[in-house]
């Protein structure tokens, strides 16, 4: 395997990791502030992709679709928080898991009811389609480069929001001591709605951005949800920094594992068998990574435990 191919694969891993970060950030934020475990986070990702595809098909503009995905996911998030999630804060994780599992069923089948059973069409905007030549002679898709840049910008924005703004101070205060900030007169229920909607919007945005590359269909959110879980467990639940680091680690491990393991096995096994054994191991690699991290640091890499 040439160095160029390795660099290209590393870029792919980076891009994959950054998309995972957008998913994981919302999940970890909601857990950090509200102590809520949300299995339906993947459904919000799906919702964003469907909103983007529907609006892009109606208006012909991917960018309007992107705005729609943010708006739709945030609105759905706020609505879900107000109607369902709000009643779950005082409950244990068990009730939260069951209720959000029920939400997955409702959102998935509801989406299928609205949009039908066939996958929707959503394509990369014309301005970002096609490959560009990078220094060193790698042809790399422009859209994926844009995703890396855009994802990093969102991550920076999120860090600024949490580190430098009033809202961020409240969020951090909420993570540290819930009773105290309520006592200080902060409208805690509005803060919760806001945080949940923010997490939902990030998931919806990720869904729309990734939807342009993939297939927009019912059930697309669930595999990503499980990966996002792995990310925040590795990074430490509640830590945005941990989510970023965990996401990049998972993205890199998965992409490089898939590329390198079959090649590595091919040195000792016949090609067809090596491909299949390598692929099997590659699909388990991130879970092995997670188990490894937990043995060393049970609270995750950036966790407080």
């Amino acid at each position: 395997m040439s160095a160029m191919l390795l660099i290209e694969q590393a870029l792919n891993g980076l891009q994959y990791g950054i998309m995972l970060f957008l998913m994981a950030a919302g999940l970890t934020l909601v857990f950090g502030v509200m102590g809520l475990i949300n299995l339906a986070h993947g459904s919000l990702y799906m919702l964003g992709a469907f909103a983007c595809a529907a609006v892009a098909a109606a208006t012909g503009s991917f960018w309007l679709g992107l705005v729609a995905s943010l708006a739709a996911a945030a609105a759905a998030g706020a609505l879900i928080e107000l109607s369902v999630i709000r009643r779950l804060y005082a409950r244990d994780h068990l009730d939260q898991v069951l209720a959000t599992f029920a939400l997955i069923l409702i959102l998935s089948e509801g989406t299928r009811w609205l949009f039908g059973s066939f996958p929707l069409y959503l394509d990369i905007p014309a301005a970002l389609s096609g490959p560009v030549r990078l220094p060193g002679g790698i042809d790399y898709p422009l859209y994926r480069l844009a995703l890396i840049g855009f994802g990093l910008a969102v991550a920076a924005g999120l860090f600024l929001l949490i580190g430098r703004t009033r809202l961020g101070i409240r969020i951090r205060a909420g993570e540290a001591d819930r009773e105290m900030i309520a006592a200080l007169g902060v409208d805690i229920s509005r803060l919760y709605t806001l945080v949940f909607a923010l997490g939902a919007a990030l998931a919806g945005l990720a869904g729309a951005l990734v939807g342009a590359l993939q297939s927009v269909q019912v059930g697309m959110g669930e595999p990503v949800l499980i990966l996002a879980f792995v990310v925040i467990v590795i990074g430490g639940i509640g830590s945005i920094r941990g989510a970023l680091f965990g996401a990049l680690l998972v993205g890199m491990t998965d992409t490089l594992g898939r590329a390198l393991l079959p090649v590595a096995f091919a040195t000792v096994l016949p090609p067809a068998e090596a491909g299949s054994v390598g692929a099997a191991l590659a699909s388990m690699l991130i879970y092995i990574l997670m188990a490894g991290v937990l043995v060393i640091r049970p609270g995750g890499l950036f966790g407080r435990a």
């Binding site: 857990f31 475990i37 299995l39 369902v84 009643r87 244990d92 994780h93 068990l94 009730d95 898991v97 069951l98 209720a99 599992f101 029920a102 939400l103 997955i104 069923l105 409702i106 998935s108 089948e109 509801g110 299928r112 009811w113 669930e222 499980i226 879980f229 792995v230 925040i232 467990v233 639940i237 299949s276 692929a279 099997a280 699909s283 388990m284 879970y287 092995i288 997670m290 188990a291 937990l294 043995v295 049970p298 609270g299 995750g300 435990a305």
Partner: protein, 327 residues
């Protein structure tokens, strides 16, 4: 008057009445449905020990359920193919005998639960939920790409395994067998909950510091409970595989974990008969709602949501009039 024991008796009677109803209505499929409910209830009973009594919210019990199923396939497939199970280090034939398969399934489930539990119990709370989920996914991907037992296609065992003295191919007798196993497991759970181990486990869930101060090790108590829980769920997996005469990685899928958890919480976590009520209601809802609409899962979701929001302590909790299971 305590209403919960009365409710439990009613649930049992309902399960027993199903075969009679099936005969009367000439709907033999009802027996299969009741068998499915009994087996899923058993899986729930297993999870309930970890979840209700031990406070360990495992979203990865599909791992044990699937391991039980595959234990059945690994033992029964060689017999079907007229091959030995292994020739090294010793000659060992496969088996079509349910008791042997159950033992193997429980041992395999317990071993997996020991490894997964030892790693996962280093953490707690929400970490535990996600880690158990991830371990189950790991096994799922392994099963999908492992060619020996059919990979994604799964493997069919064409004739149901046998139990001494019974004709397991007869739906009624197989139902009776599954119900018997379920009742035994319920009895064992009842004894465990009242035993010193059960009380200590309950203590470890509610107040680990106090249990530790008494000289007991909460982590170890929990691990033992998790191992037993995994073994019982694996037993249910072996029975489920025999019900379908088929095993595939979908038994290991994370939605299966979610569904097992739904049985437990639907009925009432920590209640002896919670999983039984939950599994019965789930199977019934699935069967009835499916008759109404292509989008029946939407209504299933709404029903689940309604129960968790407005019927605290699950169905048994709501009907028995007490929200807290342990008192």
């Amino acid at each position: 008057m305590r209403r919960e024991p009365l409710l439990n008796a009613l649930i049992l009677l309902a399960l027993l009445a199903v075969p009679l109803a099936a005969q009367a209505l000439d709907e033999p499929f009802l027996v299969t449905l009741a068998t499915k409910a009994a087996i899923l209830a058993l899986a729930g009973v297993g999870l309930n020990l970890a979840l209700g009594l031990g406070g360990m919210v495992s979203l990865g019990h599909a791992a044990f359920f699937g391991i039980g199923g595959y234990a059945m396939a690994v033992l029964a497939a060689p017999v079907q193919a007229y091959e030995p199970l292994m020739t090294w280090p010793m000659d060992l034939p496969g088996t079509k005998s349910m008791p042997a398969i159950w033992l193997a399934a429980m041992a395999a489930g317990a071993l997996a639960a020991l490894v997964i539990g030892a790693l996962s119990l280093r953490t707690g709370g929400v970490y535990f939920i996600m880690i158990t989920l991830a371990f189950a996914q790991m096994l799922y991907y392994f099963a999908v790409s492992w060619p020996a037992y059919g990979g994604e296609d799964g493997i069919s065992i064409y004739v149901r395994n046998g139990f001494p003295g019974l004709d397991t191919l007869d739906p009624l007798q197989f139902f009776g067998l599954c119900l018997g196993v379920l009742l035994l497991a319920l009895g064992a759970m009842h004894l465990i909950a009242r035993s010193r181990f059960g009380l200590a486990l309950d203590g470890a869930r509610q107040n680990p510091e106090r249990v530790a101060a008494l000289g007991l090790r909460p982590a170890r108590l929990k691990l033992i409970a998790f191992v037993v829980s995994g073994a019982v769920t694996a037993l249910a997996g072996a029975l489920f595989a025999d019900l379908n005469r088929f095993v595939s990685p979908s038994m290991l899928h994370w939605q299966t974990s979610g569904e097992i958890m739904v049985f437990v919480i639907l009925g009432g976590a920590g209640r002896l008969f919670g999983p039984v009520a939950g599994a019965a209601i789930f199977v019934l809802l699935e069967h009835l709602l499916g008759g109404i609409s292509d989008y029946w899962k939407l209504f299933l979701g709404l029903a689940l949501l309604g129960i968790v929001l407005f019927a605290r302590g699950g169905l048994i909790g709501a009907l028995a009039g007490r929200a807290v299971a342990h008192d």
